[in-house]
């Protein structure tokens, strides 16, 4: 498998993935509707900020923060770990391994091909945020938009690569769904999904700054709501992409080691 094969297969895979996303649009809508957690937390924080702002967050800031979280979550997400677990258990993976392209590419493309459909949901939410809060819910400068897109891609990459690394553990553990649950709980608590990480005590924040979770959701959200200046943004983006690189190496390594142990079940 060469880079050329991947490059040539890419458009076709994208088209197939997009067709699938369109075919299963009702299902996707249900998945979208089931990510209510940001909204659940939004009402809580709105109640807290009703009388006086919390830190730099007033009621309106919480609205824009959590609506942004909802929108970002639709894009910076991946379910590759479930897929890998399922395909290994069912033996379907052997089919994928026969193809002249690594399954990891197909998983990635499947996820990317979902973007247009997911944008259909995410974009109106951002517009709603603008309608409710005003123009300050979105970046004012072009460079901030650029940084946001970069942070969003990084967030998706972290989600996807971590999913692959965890999914590949099922070659060793029979099923790595429990590991995924542990990851998800840490993600919920540390990523800024349930509250802006700024509101945590300083010591915890330092810890979270070193973990990957906050770069998956928190950073793109903060970029969209224009929380940081130029320098701070560059520093955080650097940290994010360092995590992307580290997780890419980890995912490639566990997958390579794991796939050797794969013995197809079933026929």
């Amino acid at each position: 498998m060469s880079a050329r094969t991947v490059w040539r297969a890419f458009p076709t895979l994208l088209r197939v993935g997009f067709a699938e996303a369109v075919a299963y649009r009702a299902e996707m809508l249900i998945w979208v509707l089931s990510t209510t957690m940001p909204l659940v937390n939004m009402v809580l924080w709105m109640a807290v900020a009703r009388d006086a702002p919390v830190g730099r967050f007033g009621e309106a800031d919480f609205i824009s923060y959590f609506l942004a979280t909802f929108a970002v979550r639709q894009l910076a997400t991946s379910w590759a770990a479930w897929l890998i677990n399922w395909e290994v258990k069912q033996g379907v993976l052997s089919m994928r391994l026969l193809r002249p392209i690594s399954p990891l590419w197909t998983y990635a493309v499947e996820s990317i091909a979902n973007f247009p459909m997911r944008l259909v949901v995410a974009a109106p939410v951002v517009l709603l945020s603008v309608a409710l809060v005003g123009a300050r819910a979105v970046p004012q400068h072009a460079w901030q938009w650029g940084f946001f897109v970069l942070a969003l891609l990084g967030g998706w990459a972290i989600a996807f690569l971590a999913n692959v690394a965890i999914g590949a553990l099922c070659f060793f553990l029979e099923s790595s769904e429990r590991v995924l649950e542990v990851w998800l709980v840490l993600f919920f608590v540390c990523s800024g999904y349930m509250y802006p990480v700024e509101l945590l005590p300083p010591t915890l924040r330092t810890v979270i700054d070193w973990l990957p979770f906050r770069y998956q959701i928190g950073l793109p959200v903060e970029m969209l709501t224009g929380a940081f200046g130029w320098e701070e943004s560059v520093r955080l983006l650097g940290a994010q992409w360092a995590w992307v690189a580290a997780l890419a190496a980890l995912a490639a390594f566990t997958w390579k080691q794991g796939v050797r142990r794969f013995a197809a079940f079933g026929g």
């Binding site: 299902e27 659940v40 809580l44 429990r178 919920f188 349930m194």
Partner: protein, 267 residues
Amino acid sequence: MLKRYLRLLGIQLKASGLLSLQYRADFFTDGLTSLFWTFTALAPLFVVYRERPNIEGWSFGEALLVVGWFTLLQGILEGAINPSLTGVVEHIRKGTLDFVLLKPADAQFLVSTQRFQPWRAFNVLTGLGLFVYAFARLGQWPSVPGLLASVVLLGTSTLLLYSMWILTVSAAFYVVRVDNLTYLFSSIFDFARWPSAVFQGVGRGVLTLVFTYVIPLALMTTFPAEAMLGRLKPHALLGAVVGAVVFAWGSRQVWLRSIRRYTSASS
């Protein structure tokens, strides 16, 4: 009649119990993971109450009681309600519901009791633990009438939860892919995490009305917590009981109507 159904329930419970005893180790792994998930319900509270001593008239200890009820009901949901009803969805999809319908007993009773997973009910223990911790924080103990009222409300909450689930499952007769409807259901239930007073400020109290009368989430967690604190008015208690019975009756009607639509999936 009643005796026959009690005996049937006994048989179903025994079968599930024996099955669970085969997987004793699950008690620890399931227990640990659900304990871990509880942390995601608590983390926002810790962060919120770091900022304020009191939110919409609820102190930390009092809000903790609501989370306790949420956790306890989640345990009931996952241990007693979810396993059976996911089974129904499977039956509908494969067309094996025929075998259930042919049996000389009420179909709703049979499908609702077909599977219990006691190890998944670990959250019930966590919920009880949260009650003890909350009351220790509050420095008071619940009054006896308050406790009795909360036990009554435990019954109504379970009934409501079950009825809402029946309504969701009834949807399985109309839409084909419903395995993710279960996620949708739990994510709506997520709104029951906080005291319902939190919703007052959103949309001029419309949300409070919705969560009390349309999707009775407030009845499930906030009412029992208030009862424990001795704050629930007698007419609210009565309303909850009557409301739950009416809701259960309504969902039964919907179930009967949907089952008439069932045409075996195979052939």
